[in-house]
């Protein structure tokens, strides 16, 4: 079966009880048990809920994993995945990691003794040098947020395997439509389902998909005992969003490419970051490990004043935190997604005050460009 078909037909598209082509929203906390000796398939919605289960199975099918897990938010998914580790463990994470992941590692899990080193994941030598006796995992983002650096996923996996480490990746920017890290040997994939999976800026959700039964058992234990599960209404919205994943990703990518090319030729633009551009240092690599470049484009304006002017003047673009929706969103990492990083660290990474991130939606690309052109003046 081709991937486009699999998105819609993966065995979870129909309600087994009624044949309904939309999975019903099982808005319920607990389930009657017929027999004390033989507990039913569902007993309590934190442990398992039919709507959430349909989404979880869909996620597993699309990522090519053994099991999927839906959480209340992307950060609930990240936190639950990090709960696999114990006091005294060490992990290595990419240095331009999403601000929320940075915060949970440096302000929350640090209190429970989980150690972290941030390195440039695109340089596997640096990664290897950071490995210690107590290192347990590599935590990747590729493309990274918002600098869109490309990590050699298979190379990182090979290194991790040599040192007996787990590999975790935040696959939010690519979605399984463009990139399936489990096929490259990654152990655990994380998503903010709020972004491309949901796709409509109308739901908060997170996902974890694992490639082995052993990890599935561990994540299930965390999901059930920590309880940061996704509610059935929101699980249903994500399921609904996934149905148009391919259509959205293809069109959004097309517009992203057009906008990236146009920005490149503008004299008020200092630099454009988009892995679909042949000049992007990770271009060849992403072509090998993914089937697309995504719909997030970042760029630097000539001056910070210009960046602020654009944000004040845009009409079509929404200025908001988040990405991946059908509406185009412009965001300012220095004050928004990466505000949790210390200023010095932000500047070192290149997230300067003239840095803008675009999440390209489904509007006509020419209108989007015209809006940027009008607002930059």
């Amino acid at each position: 079966m081709k991937y486009a078909t699999k998105i819609l037909h993966n065995g979870n598209e129909r309600d087994p009880h009624t044949g309904a082509l939309s999975i019903p929203i099982y808005q319920v906390s607990t389930f009657h048990q017929d027999d004390i000796e033989h507990p039913g398939r569902y007993d309590y919605s934190r442990s398992n809920n039919p709507t959430r289960e349909a989404l979880e199975n869909t996620l597993a099918a699309l990522e090519g994993g053994t099991r999927g897990f839906a959480f209340a938010s992307g950060m609930a998914a990240v936190s639950s995945a990090l709960a696999l580790f114990s006091h005294g463990d060490h992990i290595i994470a990419t240095e331009d990691i999403y601000g929320g992941s940075y915060r949970i590692l440096t302000k929350f899990f640090n209190k429970f003794g989980l150690e972290v080193t941030f390195v440039d994941m695109t340089d596997l030598n640096q990664v290897e040098k950071a490995i210690r006796k107590n290192t347990k995992a590599l935590f990747l983002e590729s493309p990274s947020n918002p600098l869109l650096k490309i990590t050699d996923i298979a190379g990182a996996v090979e290194l991790a395997k040599r040192y007996n480490l787990l590999t975790l990746i935040d696959n939010t920017f690519m979605s399984p439509y463009f990139q399936r890290p489990l096929e490259l040997g990654v152990d655990l994939v994380i998503h903010s389902a709020t972004k491309f999976l949901g796709g409509h800026s109308d739901v908060i959700g997170g996902a974890v998909v694992v490639g082995s039964e052993a990890l599935a058992t561990k994540i299930y234990f965390v999901q059930n005992s920590f309880g940061a599960v996704q509610g059935p209404q929101d699980a249903w919205l994500v399921l609904r969003g996934i149905k148009t994943l391919r259509a959205r990703m293809e069109l959004q990518q097309q517009s992203a490419m057009a906008i990236a090319r146009w920005l490149q030729g503008e004299d008020w633009v200092e630099k454009v970051y988009y892995p679909g551009l042949p000049e992007h240092p990770g271009h060849e690599l992403i072509k090998v490990q993914a089937s697309g470049f995504g719909a997030v484009v970042s760029f630097k304006t000539d001056t910070p004043e210009r960046a602020l002017r654009i944000m004040r003047n845009v009409r079509l673009w929404s200025v908001a935190v988040s990405l991946g929706g059908v509406e185009s969103i412009l965001s300012y990492p220095a004050r928004m997604s990466h505000a949790a990083l210390p200023k010095a660290e932000r500047e070192r990474l290149g997230l300067t005050d003239n840095f803008i991130r675009l999440s390209v939606g489904l509007e006509d690309a020419e209108d989007l460009m015209a809006d940027l052109e009008a607002s930059r003046k």
């Binding site: 017929d34 004390i36 936190s79």
Partner: protein, 230 residues
């Protein structure tokens, strides 16, 4: 259904610089407000009485001081284990009938606790509303109601299965606090993960059943229990 003296515990904790956390799920703020008794932080499974309809999952934390609130807000934002808008709305809607539901549920629970106490096949009833419950007096001082959850022990272990498999009006399910009466077998369900020795020591034995009393007519509930036991 043991009763802890919340005010005394809070004062001991304060003397030693400890934070006190109370799970107030069984009482709800309608009957018991621990923050007023000196407790620092109240936790709820909002799935239970606050939700009240066995139709949502949720959890609540309420803090006493702005300083604790700020710390909780950071944790909520950082771990992202938040409640969705649809479930928040369901809870808001449920809370409107909280008093109404709880009063009816408690009235039913008091009747059933009394009836169970008199039944020859029941060896023990645990309900703080019964005057002979060891925590009855303390409970009356710190709360305005007794709740609608009660536990009871049957004379023989085999009666457990008989009751669970034969109740018709009452559902055999894990959870509590909803409009519909539920019966739960703690040793297997809610406390199944606790090692047997610990379970037995704290009294969660194989002959213990927990009843979350709903708003049905109490006569029907009693009829149902009686026919199932007998």
């Amino acid at each position: 259904m043991k009763i802890a003296n919340l005010a005394s515990i809070a004062s001991v904790a304060r003397r030693h610089g400890l934070i006190t956390i109370v799970d107030n799920t069984f009482m709800t703020p309608y009957w018991q407000r621990p923050l007023a008794l000196g407790i620092d932080l109240v936790v709820h499974s909002g799935t239970k009485y606050l939700g009240g309809h066995n139709d949502l999952l949720s959890g609540i934390v309420v803090t006493k001081t702005p300083e604790l609130s700020e710390r909780m807000a950071l944790i909520q934002k950082a771990t992202g284990a938040v409640l969705s808008p649809s479930d928040s709305w369901l809870m808001l809607r449920s809370i409107k009938t909280l008093g109404l539901r709880l009063r009816q549920q408690e009235q039913n629970a008091l009747k059933i606790a009394g009836w169970l106490q008199e039944h020859p096949l029941v060896s023990q009833v645990y309900y703080p509303g019964l005057p002979d419950h060891p925590g009855h007096e303390i409970h009356r001082k710190q709360a305005t109601g007794y709740g609608a959850v009660l536990s009871f022990k049957v004379r023989e272990r085999r009666l457990v299965e008989r009751i669970i498999n034969n109740v018709r009006v009452i559902s055999f399910a894990e959870s509590l606090g909803g409009l519909e009466t539920l019966i739960t077998y703690p040793a297997v369900q809610t406390h199944g993960d606790i090692p047997v020795e610990v379970r037995e020591r704290i009294g969660v034995t194989d002959d213990l059943l927990r009843l979350s009393v709903g708003i049905e007519d109490p006569d029907d509930l009693w009829e149902d229990l009686k026919q199932a036991i007998e």
